[in-house]
Amino acid sequence: MPIASLLVGAIFVVTLTDSVAPDFFTSRFYYATRLIGAILIATLIPLHIDRRARRSSRSGR
């Protein structure tokens, strides 16, 4: 899990850094995908951890 978080964090930084975006990527599509991806990451990671925590607590009883 920590490795996965670090990996996602690294990808997050790279995608947020404009210097790595070639010219054709500096389009509306690129920015929209980046924004949606960022919100999805911030939504799905806590959701996944929550589901896992509740599942493990049920099976641990």
Binding site: S5, G9, R28, Y31, L35, A42, P46, S56, S57
Partner: protein
């Protein structure tokens, strides 16, 4: 504010455990989802006039309140969902600058200009939210484990964003 919004959603889960975390996460990022839609449509406003201004957030909160209230038949929970939506605007006033209303004044402390301070503020929200969220989990042998996993994963994400802010002068949203 970025990941700090998740802290509010986690804290709201403690206030009303019956609300699904997905609902709270969508609510906490509601203005950003509007921005994403506007970005796709090519109607994005960099100041956030159509997504983060007081009247727009009020409409979003009313929408969230009505939809959740009708679907869940729990108007207190619907009020919590609406409060989470409103919290997005209030927290963005701390970390950024946002419009009050179309053509109105821009307000905010703009902590994005100081990524380390931003990290402390958002990190505090994340930790507080994770601790409160932990109290919604059923009893188990190591109750702190999931809280630590949740908190640390979110802090790593926030750290990544603040590093990006340190490396770059501006991070255009769309």
């Amino acid at each position: 504010m970025y990941i700090g919004h998740v802290g509010v959603a986690l804290a709201a889960k403690r206030v009303r455990p019956g609300i699904g975390l997905l609902v709270l996460l969508v609510a906490t990022y509601a203005p950003d989802w509007v921005d994403a839609g506007l970005c796709v449509a090519g109607a994005y406003n960099p100041d956030g006039v159509f997504s983060h201004s007081i009247p727009v957030v009020a409409v979003l909160a009313l929408l969230g309140f009505t939809l959740y209230g009708i679907k869940g038949r729990d108007w207190t929970a619907a009020a919590v969902v609406a409060a989470v939506i409103i919290s997005h605007m209030l927290l963005d006033w701390i970390t950024g600058t946002k419009p009050t209303w179309p053509g109105g004044t821009m307000i905010g402390l703009n902590l994005y200009a100081r990524p380390l301070v931003d990290l402390v503020v958002e990190g505090s929200l994340i930790v507080a939210g994770a601790v409160l969220y932990g109290r919604t989990l059923p009893p188990r042998e190591r109750p702190w484990r999931d809280v630590v996993i949740m908190g640390s994963a979110l802090l790593v994400l926030q750290l990544g964003i603040d590093i990006a802010h340190l490396l770059m002068e501006s991070l255009p949203k769309c």
